[in-house]
């Protein structure tokens, strides 16, 4: 079930262009971007779905570097307490260059488990030309929050319209992805237990497609609220919002700003037993194929609202306006489902649907 094609084809007034035709909007692959972005001329109104150097946010080793640098800066400017808000990324070492640092850390804390993750390709990104040569060693979170004995992670969507100024939108819905098997540190070799991406779970022998192993974020909130009370849930989601803000701020000056670019990120967040959220990964090309009817609806709405925010219609209308007559103002953003994340200067006050 390809949600993207369905949404684009059904959008009124949009025409699909093949191959060499002129386009106003392109939802592209990262590989296409890498090869063509630098020598493609784009009119003012044209929009494309990736930033040139998104990997500063999405590749774990770059993300870590940017975050560390940002943290130092924050500590200088605003003190230790403020800098501590950046401590949501599990300790990570790039391999092979930080091998010695890693060994030191490993020796200092012998009981800790580390997980080796490939760095270039995640199952969400499409086929990449760059072969997988880099790894990171990341501290494994041994006390994940479990529901029904199962480990899960949260997938939340953030749409960035520009980095300078930083304009980011948070999608209200998302989902919790469950591992199909019960969590135990005993079976550390069993990749199906620990990796919760549906892409990996799909290959597990236990996987039944009907199950889908996903909960919507709404349902997850209700479950937590009935167990820990609404205040704890609010705190948790405020902490998750903090992750978005800090991670985007840390790459704000690094990402090559280009008015033609926007990007829809899929954030993977893990909650531990103390209800602390950890950032596992940011995906620049989150999977848009749907694993169930509910999933299909979520992703199509997500894409539709993304397109509302990007608002090609208004841009094309502006472009074709020769006169100074006021054009009919259609709502240019879907206030229902996407919410603007205020920049760091202002107080963050995101309101969520009530539990």
């Amino acid at each position: 079930m390809n949600t993207l094609m369905d949404v684009l084809r059904h959008r009124p007034g949009w025409v699909e262009v093949k191959d060499e035709g002129e386009w106003d909007f392109y939802w592209c692959d990262v590989s296409w971007l890498r090869e063509n972005f630098d020598h493609t001329y784009m009119d003012e109104h044209v929009r494309i779905s990736h930033f040139r150097n998104h990997y500063d946010l999405t590749r774990k080793n770059y993300m870590v570097k940017n975050l560390k640098r940002f943290r130092k800066q924050l500590e200088r400017e605003a003190g230790k307490l403020e800098a501590a808000k950046c401590d949501f990324f599990p300790k990570t070492f790039e391999m092979p260059c930080e091998y010695h640092l890693f060994v030191e850390e490993f020796r200092k804390n012998p009981g800790i488990t580390w997980i080796m993750k490939p760095d270039t390709r995640s199952s969400d990104d499409q086929k990449d030309d760059i072969p997988v040569e880099n790894y990171v060693a990341q501290r494994y979170i041994e006390n994940p929050y479990l529901i029904g004995g199962r480990k899960f992670d949260l997938r939340v969507y953030v749409l960035v319209m520009s980095y300078i100024p930083l304009r980011a939108w948070l999608y209200r819905d998302g989902f919790a992805r469950f591992s199909n098997t019960r969590f135990t540190l005993n079976s550390i070799d069993d990749q199906y237990v620990h990796l919760t991406n549906v892409a990996v779970q799909k290959t597990s022998p236990d996987y039944h497609p009907k199950k889908g192993c996903k909960w919507t974020l709404q349902r997850f909130r209700q479950y937590l609220a009935s167990k820990h009370g609404p205040e704890a849930v609010e705190t948790l989601f405020r902490d998750i919002d903090n992750i978005f803000v800090k991670s985007l701020q840390s790459v704000q000056k690094v990402i090559i700003s280009n008015k033609h670019c926007f990007e829809l990120y899929g954030y993977d967040i893990l909650i531990d037993q103390d209800l602390k959220p950890w950032l596992l990964e940011v995906n620049a090309s989150p999977s848009l194929t749907a694993s169930s009817q509910e999933d299909y609806e979520l992703k199509t709405c997500l894409l539709e609202d993304t397109l509302h925010v990007v608002d090609m219609e208004a841009r094309l209308r502006q472009r074709s306006e020769e006169t100074t007559e006021a054009a009919l103002l259609l709502p240019s953003s879907s206030e229902e489902s996407f919410q603007l994340i205020p920049s760091c200067q202002e107080e963050i006050s995101l309101s969520r649907p009530c539990v």
Partner: protein, 523 residues
């Protein structure tokens, strides 16, 4: 006057009898003895002082809750000369129907047994016991071969039995009149109409705040929600909590409130009792266990909401089927526990046992009674207690034939009557195209809407079941759903199409539907 007084003293005597055997009684005794040490207890006014002490220390409240709980569960005794069957079910033809239905179920179970050559019960070998103990928290990962097992019956089989129920003393003539009931249920039981329901469910009225309506994002919380939550936090009294919950329970308080209303407090003895049941499960394997496995795999495991709780369901249901304390509810249940005989001793009463030990044979969808509770309770013994109490107060009525106003027969009749009286065009249209409405709504009511509604909506509905101590709201909701989708239903021309219109209830908001149907429709 005299009759009332003697009734009252009879009830009091019964309750005292019941409570004397309970844990609360021994605790109160201990407390009374301990209180003798206290300076304020004087020998001259011993009785009053101890009573005062109980009041201050909160023990009186606990006793009040226990008494209230007994009153809610135990039906009022009728005529002193009435035989015990009348407590189960006063109408003879209903008792007979239930008896023959039970025979059919047992026959089906026995034939499955002989076909598969599996004993009804067997002791597990030690190795198997150890294995089960190890996997106790993840029984869902087991994939035994269940293909040969079939559920003993499904709701639609039960519906056929109810459709054929007739009162032999009732003759309504062959001629159709405005009194003729056009639905499937053809027994003359008294059901409420909308004015009576309005009186009964007065707290659901339009001018009274509700959770499920007045806590939505558009409504400022100061208007209702904040105050309601504040009141809820102070509650310690079962009866007051029951009154409070009629307006819905805040999510954070729901688990405690339900436990308060059902009078469940997790004492060490309760945990011990649950552990004992767990040991029984480990030691013996019952045929019923496979039925439970099959049911969970077929229903809850495939449900988007509840698949996560699969393991809890086994832990609750397997223990439930071994719990002999459940047998006591058969005193007021029209059903009777099936009896089985030790091999070779058929007919000899000394070798008779109840099978399964709790007397309840699960049917297709039974595990859905437990699944929503997993959302609220995570500690297995507490989850177990809550489920057991919900079963012996409410759920058993949904699959036994009786004339009780909350029994499934009355609910079906209430549903059909409401539809026929207040939506006659729709009812007649559906009947004409061969889509009798009860055929569609029956499965909703038998499962108390579990698995059909979104979880948060279901919990709001079950709040009201507890609040009003009645299942009638299920029938009202079923009628309200039909009213809501009436426009689409008028267009359909077949049963399949009608089913399709009503297939997905997961987007429905329960409280607005109920309010509109009861209070905002012009009758």
């Amino acid at each position: 006057m005299l009759q009332e007084e003697s009734d009252l003293s009879l009830i009091i005597a019964q309750i005292v009898q019941k409570l004397k055997g309970s844990n609360l009684y021994s605790q109160l005794e201990r407390q009374a003895w301990a209180s003798l040490q206290r300076p304020e207890i004087k020998l001259e006014s011993l009785k009053e002082d101890i009573k005062e002490f109980f009041k201050i220390s909160g023990w009186e409240k606990k006793l009040q809750n226990a008494v209230y709980s007994e009153l809610s569960v135990f039906p009022l005794p009728s005529h002193p000369a009435a035989p015990p069957e009348h407590l189960k079910e006063p109408l003879v033809y209903m008792r007979k129907a239930q008896g023959s239905w039970e025979k059919r179920i047992l026959k089906s179970l026995n034939s499955m047994c002989t076909e598969l050559s599996i004993p009804l019960a067997r002791k597990r070998p030690v190795g198997e016991q150890k294995e089960l103990l190890n996997k106790w928290n993840e029984m869902g990962t087991d994939e035994p071969d269940l293909s040969l097992f079939r559920p003993v019956y499904a709701p639609k089989d039960f519906l056929e039995v109810l459709i054929n129920l007739r009162n032999p003393n009732y003759e309504n003539g062959d001629s159709l009149s405005f009194r003729t009931h056009l639905g499937l249920i053809q027994v003359p039981l008294k059901v409420k109409d909308i004015p009576e329901l309005k009186e009964c469910f007065v707290e659901l009225g339009l001018n009274i705040g509700q959770l499920g309506i007045d806590d939505s994002t558009q409504v400022p919380p100061e208007l209702f929600e904040n105050e309601h939550v504040r009141i809820g936090q102070k509650e310690q009294d079962s009866a007051a909590a029951q009154q409070y919950i009629r307006q819905g329970s805040p999510t954070a308080l729901r688990a405690e409130l339900w436990a308060l209303i059902l009078n469940i407090s997790s004492q060490p003895e309760d945990v011990l009792y649950y552990e004992q049941l767990k040991t029984n499960v480990i030691q013996h394997d019952l045929l019923v266990d496979s039925l439970i496995y099959k049911d969970v795999k077929l229903t809850a495991s495939n449900d988007d909401y509840y698949f996560v709780f699969e393991d809890y369901l086994y832990q609750v249901l397997l223990c439930f089927s071994r719990d002999t304390s459940v047998l006591s509810h058969f005193a007021f249940n029209s059903a009777s526990p099936p009896k089985s005989y030790i091999r070779g001793k058929l007919g000899l009463e000394e070798y008779a046992v109840f099978y399964p030990p709790n007397g309840v044979i699960p049917f297709h969808g039974f595990s859905m009674y437990v699944a929503p509770l997993c959302f609220l309770y995570h500690e297995p013994s507490k989850l177990y207690q809550i489920f057991r109490e919900m079963y012996v107060r409410f759920f058993f009525r949904l699959h036994s034939i009786s004339s009780h106003p909350s029994g499934i027969v009355s609910l079906c009749l209430l549903f059909e009557t409401l539809l026929q009286t207040y939506l006659p065009q729709l009812f007649y249209h559906l009947r004409e195209i061969g889509a009798q409405p009860l055929r569609i709504s029956f499965k909703w009511m038998v499962r108390a809407f579990s698995g059909y509604l979104a979880t948060d909506q279901l919990l709001l509905l079950w709040d009201r079941i507890l609040g009003y101590n009645s299942l009638e709201i299920l029938a009202v909701l079923a009628a309200a759903v039909f009213a809501f989708r009436a426009v689409n239903l008028m267009e359909v021309t077949s049963l399949a199409a009608a089913e399709a219109v009503l297939a997905d209830l997961s987007t429905l908001k329960v409280m607005p539907l109920l309010q509109i149907f009861l209070f905002a429709t012009v009758t």
